[in-house]
Symmetry: C2
Subunit: 357 residues, 2 copies
């Protein structure tokens, strides 16, 4: 059973715009799929752990009972709400696979995957649910008015959707963290942020012209920031460089993230009323790097020209394989344009039709 | 205790060159660090699993006895020798962290990390050993004669070093797989390749103008290949698209990989005497994608200009943090050039010396 629910929320736009000088518009949010049970099993040997046939959308028990893995959780640690904004592109599924395999190591984590789309991607879901991690998949598109901008505020509509989900579901304990699908997360990060009381901060590697963005810490306290793009920001930090306790977040029920590229972190942290003395430095007083802003090379999905009857391809593996690639957005098939599909047989190039003649 | 041993090997060059039309030169190989015990523990909660203080180089028992994790191994499955060529660059450590966290899920795996360097990187080692995975770290540089070429054969010297290590250590059972540090590996891949009898093959996503490279499979048998760059190759496959049993490899004691960019896979598979009928298609008869040629955006390590006495930075976290970044090759510090290091305090940009005045 899959439940679709739609929230439309409309904060007092004028007030917010006055304060933050940024326009806000209504947005859409669809809760696509959810699973609150921890189905993770031990490491893969000869078979994959069986994914549940249907996501248990209606079973909303927060405590995991079915968990066989991870084994070291006592079931009472603060939950980490790990928010990953994503969007359709040819690298989307590989990124989700790689990140999910990292998150599989982390006990007591609820993964909120928020897709920048108007409708729910069943392909994305089929991959997420295989990990056995408790998760919520949202669809929340960037409003058209921003999409046309040169400096479009990517990942904002989906992070706002996650904030909305947290409030709608009255999550008031645990920790919120924004983790992009192409970042690298050292597992130690999770044990560090899990105990965040208000807001914790830590260095992020491979950011900007210093190759690092970090708080400056003296005597165990954050006193300033080291970031090569100050941009008059009060909180010049990267999205992956802080975690927020949900108890603390709940004190600012109107806190949100603006559609303003480059200022998402700053304005969000302003909106929760952060004070310098509230910040807990992590990662050995900000001397270790536990999160990296790695970026995956993107490229346009190629078009492959197949001018023969595609059904014939089902006689070999190419039929099923190409359908799978298309559902993931990895390539397109056309009968009139693109790179001509050919086969190689014993070192010689042959037309695909060779197989069926 | 760390044991350094040096092999110099010199196959009959003339014979090989005649057969493969490629020059070969002597190469260096240093075994830097090794650990044959499986120290993996359960998932990370509040502390990292303790890494052994010293790599147990001298303890060469092949059977893991100390393993608490993964729990599902019965200790008798074929070992996977997972060979990762790597080279110094600013993304090297993050990539190793991300890949290592994937490999942590896989029982009975020996990770051969072969670095394209003349000397052993202690920084690289400090990260590898933390995973608790049995591993061997090699250093084997690309010979100078190739390094100057426009189309340098990257990753060859190190893969050859791994082959040499396998032979020197008389590994004749288990499975060999070449897995780059920036690829994405679905955990299911490991259970698929583990049972390879001779050579197994499977699709690799995000390769070339078809966005896929795969065998063509009919009636459960490989009959040809689908790859957008035929290049007159008999075996037009990607390095990540096949696995070889060590028993089978041992039948070709002179098999190797050429220093010939683009033809490494083809010539290696020729050198082991592969026949079409020996190939086992995996991944549901090559209709699933379990490995992806994701690529991480590379960029030059930036130079940060710090004109003050650097020792002063030890009074805050920046001293330790910047030293760590430098050892990883993530950035460089100069007192005369680069982007001037500045701090941000309460929204205002200040010189770093502000902290020490």
């Amino acid at each position: 059973m899959i439940i679709f629910s739609v929230y439309i929320f409309n904060p007092k736009e004028e007030e917010y715009e006055k304060e933050f000088h940024i326009p806000l518009v209504n947005e859409e949010l669809v809760v696509c799929y959810e699973n609150y049970e921890d189905y993770r099993k031990g490491p893969y040997m000869t078979t994959l752990p069986a994914a549940p046939e249907e996501p248990t959308t209606t079973q909303r028990q927060q405590q995991s009972t079915a968990s066989q893995y991870p084994v070291q959780s006592n079931g009472s640690e603060p939950m980490i709400y790990f928010v990953t904004p994503t969007y359709p592109r040819r690298e989307q599924i590989p990124e989700i696979i790689r990140l999910g395999q990292t998150l599989m190591h982390v006990a007591r984590l609820h993964w909120i995957v928020a897709d920048d789309t108007t409708s729910c991607s069943a392909t994305l879901n089929s991959h997420i649910k295989k990990f056995g991690i408790p998760y919520t998949q949202l669809a929340s598109p960037m409003p058209e008015v921003y999409r046309l901008r040169k400096n479009a505020p990517r990942g904002v509509a989906n992070r706002r959707a996650a904030l909305s989900w947290i409030r709608t579901n009255n999550k008031r304990s645990g920790v919120l963290y924004f983790g992009d699908d192409d970042n690298t997360f050292d597992l130690k990060l999770f044990s560090e942020i899990r105990t965040t009381k208000k807001v914790s901060m830590f260095p992020v590697g491979l950011i900007g012209d210093y190759a690092i963005s970090t708080p400056i810490v003296r005597n165990g306290r954050v006193e300033g920031f080291f970031d090569s793009w100050p941009a008059k920001r009060k909180w010049p930090v990267d999205m992956a460089g802080f975690a927020v306790s949900l108890e603390y977040l709940a004190r600012s029920p109107n806190a949100t993230m603006p559609f303003k590229a480059g200022y998402e972190e700053d304005e969000f942290l302003k909106s929760i009323g952060l004070k310098l003395e509230d910040i807990e430095p992590k990662a050995n007083n900000c001397t270790e790097i536990l999160v990296w802003h790695t970026q995956t090379k993107g490229s346009k999905a190629p078009t492959v020209r197949i001018s023969m009857d595609r059904q014939k391809l089902d006689k070999v593996n190419l039929g099923g394989l190409l359908k799978r690639l298309e559902t993931m957005g990895v390539n397109h098939i056309s009968d009139t344009e693109g790179t001509t599909a050919q086969a190689i047989v014993n070192g010689s190039v042959k037309p695909l039709s060779f197989w069926f003649s």
